[in-house]
């Protein structure tokens, strides 16, 4: 989503609504709300130019807490609603707020099709690896064996990785960030907003009621460095407290290595490139804790025309060629005939 309007000064307060925030105390959603408000305040675009569209879930209450336009729609369908809005109104800055259940369980298909169309919207997926609002069933991102209300002996489904789904859906922008890493969170949301096309951001979010600590390996400052790689354009994939570990690819097979050991140098390590190429991005999406550290930051950011521009382009092209539609001509159609007064005897009502 590109933010090009003339900038004015806004504060975080300008983006908060008068509704009380009703998340559980301690929920990771609070920090995301606050980060988004900050980013918007800095963008300098007035609140009425934004629309926040959500599905159903704890996370999906988000729009009520913003002073922008918004729709709290139905479970799993926020992206479809956003697509229609954006195609009708390319001028609006459109956000989708969704959860791991909303976007990947019931709404998984809309996620895929929205991404491949590349509608210019920003999707923030709050991934807490649980269904919060319905009080704690496992979600498509919950680890195998997760014990929850609906799986007292452990869940049996292999979890899916939102980033992998996004790439398979031909996403032009995909990124991951963390509720408890506000700087990274804000920077990532900002990049996502600036992207022209669908931007897809997975945010690790703690549900302290039903899934407390499930993502601590990435959230907790104490261990984060060992478990997470912060992606930076043009920089090698290094990680670890001392940044002395890296990722190499051996004929397509990924491995974590220690720089300086077994003759490995920094040159052997993969170098991050957001723009090129699909196969490299595909590899990134397969890096998962605990086998490998998990990348955070912008995985991929490529250019492709947006869906709404293409739609409008076709309309413009036709109008250029044929002129604006003439309703009378359309109604008249190709061939007509006339019935004259004197022919008309018995009426047809």
């Amino acid at each position: 989503m590109s933010v090009t309007e003339q900038k004015r000064e806004y504060t975080v307060k300008d983006f908060g609504s008068d509704q009380d925030v009703r998340w559980c105390p301690g929920c990771g959603d609070y920090s995301i709300l606050s980060a988004v408000k900050k980013v918007l305040a800095e963008a300098g675009v007035p609140p009425e130019q934004y629309v926040f569209i959500s599905g159903i879930g704890c996370s999906s209450r988000f729009p009520y807490y913003m002073s922008t336009y918004g729709i709290h729609s139905i479970h799993g369908r926020a992206m479809a609603v956003a697509t229609g809005l954006k195609v009708a109104r390319p001028d609006l800055h459109t956000f989708v707020i969704t959860g791991d259940g909303d976007a990947l369980s019931i709404g998984g298909n809309h996620t895929i099709h929205t991404l491949r169309r590349n509608v210019d919207i920003t999707i923030l997926l709050f991934n807490n690896q649980i269904y919060g609002l319905t009080k704690g069933q496992y979600s498509p991102t919950s680890p195998f064996g997760k014990k929850t209300k609906s799986t007292p002996m452990g869940s049996l489904d292999q979890p899916i990785a939102p980033m992998a789904i996004a790439l398979a859906a031909e996403a032009t922008f995909m990124a991951r960030t963390i509720d408890m890493h506000p700087k990274h969170l804000m920077a990532t949301v900002k990049r996502a907003m600036e992207h022209k096309g669908t931007s897809f951001v997975e945010i690790y979010q703690n549900c302290n009621i039903f899934n407390d600590g499930a993502l601590a390996y990435a959230q907790d400052r104490k261990v984060r460095a060992e478990n997470v790689i912060e992606l930076e354009q043009g920089k090698p994939l290094l990680f670890g407290k001392d940044m002395n570990k890296g990722i190499v690819s051996e004929k397509g097979h990924l491995k974590a290595v220690r720089i300086g050991e077994d003759g490995i140098t920094e040159d052997d390590v993969l170098v991050h490139d957001e723009e090129d190429s699909e196969s490299y991005h595909a590899m990134l999406t397969r890096m998962r804790y605990p086998e490998l550290p998990e990348p955070i930051g912008v995985f991929r950011a490529i250019e492709r025309p947006t869906y709404e521009d293409l739609v409008n382009g076709q309309i413009e092209r036709v109008i250029e060629r044929k002129g604006k539609g003439d309703l009378q001509k359309l109604i008249v159609g190709r061939s007509t005939w006339e019935v004259h007064e004197d022919e008309a005897e018995a009426g047809k009502g």
Partner: protein, 630 residues
């Protein structure tokens, strides 16, 4: 009219008031095209016409099989008609399967025109026929004309330079030529069509013209035909006419609505028979700013349309029964957020996948009652192809006036049928006025997103407007402010308000008209809705000729019912009320519960429309039974 248009040697010309022809052949034989061209020629000549297409559910089943037969029926008439005809006067059959499938509906003594070349050992076997009906005398009670059409077609094309396969494909125009001669139809409109259609394909153009003429001249020359028929021009109300199909008229109506409202149409849809053609048609008219969106499924389609409506476009979505089922949850959201939305259901045979290419009216319950919670919305039904235009316009008017989703019911019969349309002048169409709030409507500059106007509609404030930011959603909301509210009394109030708003639509739309009973003395009342219009109207007229007076009420508004409908039932109290429906009595159920009127039901759930006779018979029986009781 040129010479070509008149049989040169009219052996014997018989005048007929109207004729019903059915063209039947393989899916690949071009029967739909053939029928359409004959219809067109008849309409331009000045007959009233009415058509019906009958597709197989398969795309192109193996040639010669009975389930691959594609049919096209039309009635053309010297007076106003309303149906494609009950029984067939003339059957054109390109192969044994086509003959087999359609023979039952040919009248005794009717004309059969066969492609003799299509009756081979193999095709007979494919149709499950032991013997060749052309030869075994089994068609004795009909007038059979067996013509080697394929051969003749190939001969006619000889010099054009087509391959044999290409040339063979033209044989439908040969059949058309023969039929045109037999029914004294001018060839010119058809020749014009060929000219246009094959503009860039010289050889095909030439071939088809030659073949058409060859068929026509064959009729003229051959000794086969001892007489030809003529159907005079119909006496239609004066005006300029065109032919229009139902789905086409819906598309044009939607575009017109957009133009009259000065709003872009956003059409979100997922393909499904028999609704897909609306999408195809709209996609061709981008110069009107129409945005068509082929969604990943029906749910995405309606949700996107709703999103577009929030943004200020006219959101529209369409499907057929199974797809409408999938939209039910989102329709609930639309009712709750109170945004305009037009939802079209082109009904087909159900339940489930059912009979996808056939007609039925069994989605009325689904339209009016098929959602969770108290979830009312206006429901309109089109009664004929051209009526689709009007209904699309009216649905849009209601949607924007009342800020509500509106359901439009059409069906597979209307969708694929054509009729002459005395189309309007755009200048005569009322504009659709829409006001977008642009100022706070509450105290202290607050915007109250659920403060209602005199029609109980909430304001349509567009995103982007400063000072009016607001959030809507599927949770119950506080009256006036639109904030989320779990308050018990507020919920009751909102449930009541949503119902009252929809009920108010009855004040906005026209009163119900009674047809065929100017002095109110009819012996009975027939109430219908949707595509039974033609059959009921025709039977009422024919009963009148027999001296039986039947009042006809045809409902466009199925929710809410017209405000005077109760009074109408009062008026006809003690007279039988017949409700013919292509379902098991869905409208009847709604009428009975609302007005406690003891309706009699006439049902037909067979994937095809009522014939006039069926309705006449039911009416007469009902009257006889009543008489007997007295």
């Amino acid at each position: 009219m040129s010479l070509e248009a008149q049989p040169k040697t009219p052996k014997e010309v018989e005048e007929l008031p109207q004729v019903t022809i059915r063209f039947a052949g393989d899916s690949g034989d071009g029967m739909q095209l053939t029928g359409t061209q004959f219809t067109n020629a008849s309409a331009i000549f000045g007959n009233d016409v009415s058509t019906m297409a009958d597709f197989p559910a398969e795309i192109r089943a193996p040639a010669g099989t009975v389930y691959g037969v594609s049919g096209f029926q039309l009635q053309f008439s010297s007076s106003a008609i309303y149906t494609p005809g009950d029984v067939v006067d003339c059957l054109v059959a390109m192969n044994p399967a086509a003959l087999k499938v359609n023979l039952a509906e040919l009248k005794h003594g009717g004309v059969i025109i066969l492609n003799e070349d299509g009756f081979t050992e193999q095709t007979l076997k494919l149709a499950g026929m032991d013997r060749n009906p052309i030869k075994d005398g089994s068609l004795g009670k009909y007038t059979v004309h067996s013509i080697p059409m394929t051969q003749s077609t190939l001969r006619a094309c000889e010099e054009v330079g087509l391959t044999g396969k290409e040339a063979g494909r033209c044989k439908n125009f040969y059949a058309l030529g023969v039929v045109c001669w037999l029914y004294s139809r001018p060839l010119e409109p058809i020749l014009d069509f060929i000219e246009m259609k094959f503009k860039d394909r010289e050889q095909l153009r030439e071939a088809n013209k030659r073949v058409l003429r060859a068929g026509y001249y064959f009729g003229e020359t051959a000794e086969l035909f001892t007489r030809v028929f003529r159907v005079r021009k119909a006496h239609l109300p004066p005006g300029v006419y065109r032919e229009v199909h139902g789905n086409e008229a819906l598309a044009i109506g939607l575009i017109a609505a957009g133009q009259l409202a000065n709003k872009p149409i956003f059409y979100g849809s997922y393909p499904i028979t028999p609704a897909s053609d609306i999408l195809h048609e709209l996609a061709r008219h981008k110069q009107f700013g129409v945005k068509t969106f082929q969604a990943e499924d029906e749910i995405a389609a309606i949700c996107a349309a709703l999103g577009a409506s929030y943004g200020g476009a006219l959101g529209v979505t369409a499907s057929s029964g199974p797809g409408i089922a999938l939209k039910a949850e989102a329709l609930g959201l639309a009712v709750m957020v109170e945004l305009p939305l037009v939802v079209i259901n082109v009904q087909r045979g159900g339940p489930s996948t059912g009979l996808p290419t056939k007609v039925e009216q069994a989605d009325l319950f689904q339209a009016v009652l098929g959602r969770n919670g108290e979830c009312p919305l206006p429901v309109l039904a089109a009664r004929s192809p051209s009526d689709c235009f009007e209904v699309a316009l009216e649905a849009t008017r209601i949607a924007v006036k009342f800020m509500t989703p509106v359901m439009v019911l059409s069906d597979g019969f209307i969708a694929n049928s054509a009729e002459p349309w005395c189309f309007p002048n755009t200048g005569d169409l009322d504009p659709i006025e829409i006001e977008h709030t642009d100022e706070p409507n509450g105290e202290n500059g607050r915007f109250l997103s659920y403060k209602r106007d005199e029609w109980l509609a909430r304001p349509w404030a567009l995103p982007g407007t400063p000072g009016l930011t607001h959030r809507i959603g599927g949770l119950e909301k506080q009256d006036v402010t639109g904030n989320v509210s779990y308050d018990p009394e507020n919920h009751q109030r909102m449930v009541n308000l949503r119902q009252a708003k929809v009920d108010k639509v009855a004040e906005f739309v026209a009163e119900q008209e009674i047809m065929n009973d100017p002095d109110g003395t009819a012996e009975m009342l027939v109430v219908g809705w949707g595509s039974t219009y033609g059959a009921i109207r025709e039977s009422a007229r024919r009963l009148l000729r027999k001296g039986v007076r039947v009042a006809h009420v045809h409902l466009r508004h199925l929710n809410p019912f017209p405000r005077n409908l109760g009074a109408i039932f009062e008026k006809y109290r003690d007279r039988p009320v017949l409700v013919p429906e292509m379902n098991k009595g869905q409208l009847a159920t709604l009428l009975r519960s609302k007005y406690l009127v003891d309706t009699q039901h006439l049902e037909k759930v067979q994937g095809r429309p009522f014939t006039t006779v069926e309705i006449m018979d039911a009416a007469e029986e009902l009257l006889a039974a009543k008489g007997a009781k007295k």
